[in-house]
Symmetry: C2
DNA sequence: CGCCTATTTGATCTGATTCAAACAATGTGG
DNA sequence: CCACATTGTTTGAATCAGATCAAATAGGCG
């Protein structure tokens, strides 16, 4: 029998929670009792739909997913991107009806966790419940930051900002090497996330490239000038509330 | 000695929590053990500042407050408005450093609650902890909805939407009579919340008035045509996750 | 190779900003 | 009770960031 801790689904969950707050051995053991039902899904598949009442939440093990909703006029707003370790619909544990949808952007490995098991875990291990609290609060902080971008920053700044954010988040869970990471997101999707048209995303991206701040091709992001990009994106990672140690090694 | 339940600070807290989920008598009693230190503050006063590490959270008893942050170029984004019963910085219980600021918009009565007391309450009364979970998750849902507005809806729709939201929230805690409520918020503040210039807020508001949907003068909002305003604002209150009973009586 | 999806380019249009000034309402001190 | 200061609302004109429309390229991949 394989060591459960070595299973990628538990491993990603550890790394994510660890990026928020250190975990004791006890707490890790506690986590290992969580039943995770892994499933592989193709790209552009709905996971949960607005109006659903899911009986469990899903952990992203591999791939990229996003939350979104459509306007009455059929315009899409993407609220967040999610990567390995994230539990995008953790909220459905407390808010029974989904007020937005969830889909894959790339092929994904997802692990489903029954709400009951989650609730039990949090009852048995309050420290883990606290980390989950922190997680949903950080989520909210990211929403605020995106709001700030969409409401008050230029397209150029906004794009730089979100790319900084993605890189830092990827680094925090060990999915980036140095200033490079996977980013298989189309310009149209970026636009839907940032409240911009595809055309304008394309042009602003060209500017960022022109300023030698980054490269973004073939589904992968390379930051050429981290300080420059941070400045261009008005990016200060405080709002991500990463654990101090993690944040420092990323500086 | 006066009945504590009659004190307005506890009363507002009850009403707010009640709007999210029904409370048992036991739970109400539990709440009454929370120490609330009431303070009166003038308008446009900072309550907590970005970077602070508050030792308690504050309950709004009377008046209007908002969360906000400034861009590097000095543009302000308001993230949310808060009314009686709200605990705008509940998050500081779990995220020690504030990533945004909090200020009063009008003269306010605020009640401060030490984090320690809050934590104890939630430990002693898990049902109340659950309601608080729901509350911060609803907060996040409102952020998403605002994001949607700023990113994808026209100025006209956006303003209609936020006014619907305010009225529903006021009604939920008993601060509105019918289709009328206090709304002592300037057009500049509305603009900072919706990512619009004051001038454009003014013009869109005139349109809404012109369509006989509402009146907004002297710090008070009157909705003349609720269905019309909902439609104009692409407003569906699902995201507010109000308790069913409350939602129905507001329909 | 040919199909499909994503990126890029060009031209035009428009919702919203900016700047500037007038106007209204409210409050303050003499 | 009035003069004046302050803050908020309204109007007009000019400008611009970003949208839209349309078409050309460029990649991937069966």
């Amino acid at each position: 029998m394989s060591e459960p801790a070595e299973l990628p689904e538990y491993n990603m969950l550890f790394r994510k929670l660890r990026s928020i707050s250190p975990l004791s051995e006890d707490e890790k053991h506690c986590l290992l009792t969580l039943p995770l039902h892994v499933r592989t899904i193709g790209p552009d598949q709905e996971i949960v739909r607005e109006g659903d009442r899911p009986a469990g939440s899903c952990l992203v093990v591999e791939g990229f997913t996003c939350r979104y909703k459509f306007t009455a006029e059929g315009k899409r707003q993407i609220f967040s991107f999610h990567i390995g370790g994230d539990i995008p619909d953790l909220q459905s544990l407390h808010l029974k009806v989904m007020d937005h949808s969830l889909m894959t952007l790339t092929p994904c490995k997802l692990a489903f966790i029954p709400h009951q098991s989650l609730a039990e875990l949090m009852r048995r291990c309050p420290r883990i419940a606290d980390v989950m609290w922190r997680d949903v609060l950080i989520d909210a902080a990211i929403f605020r930051e995106w709001m700030m971008g969409i409401g008050r920053r230029s397209a150029y700044t906004r794009i730089a900002h979100v790319l900084c954010e993605v890189l830092v988040k990827m680094r925090a869970v060990g999915l980036a090497n140095g200033h490079e990471c996977e980013l298989p997101i189309t310009q149209a999707e970026l636009g839907d996330a940032l409240g911009l048209s595809t055309v304008h995303v394309n042009r602003s991206l060209q500017e960022l490239r022109g300023h030698r701040l980054l490269e973004l091709r073939g589904g992968s992001l390379t930051v050429l000038n981290w300080d420059g990009l941070k400045k261009a994106g008005d990016f200060d990672p405080t709002y991500l509330h990463l654990d101090q140690e993690i944040e420092e090694e990323a500086a």
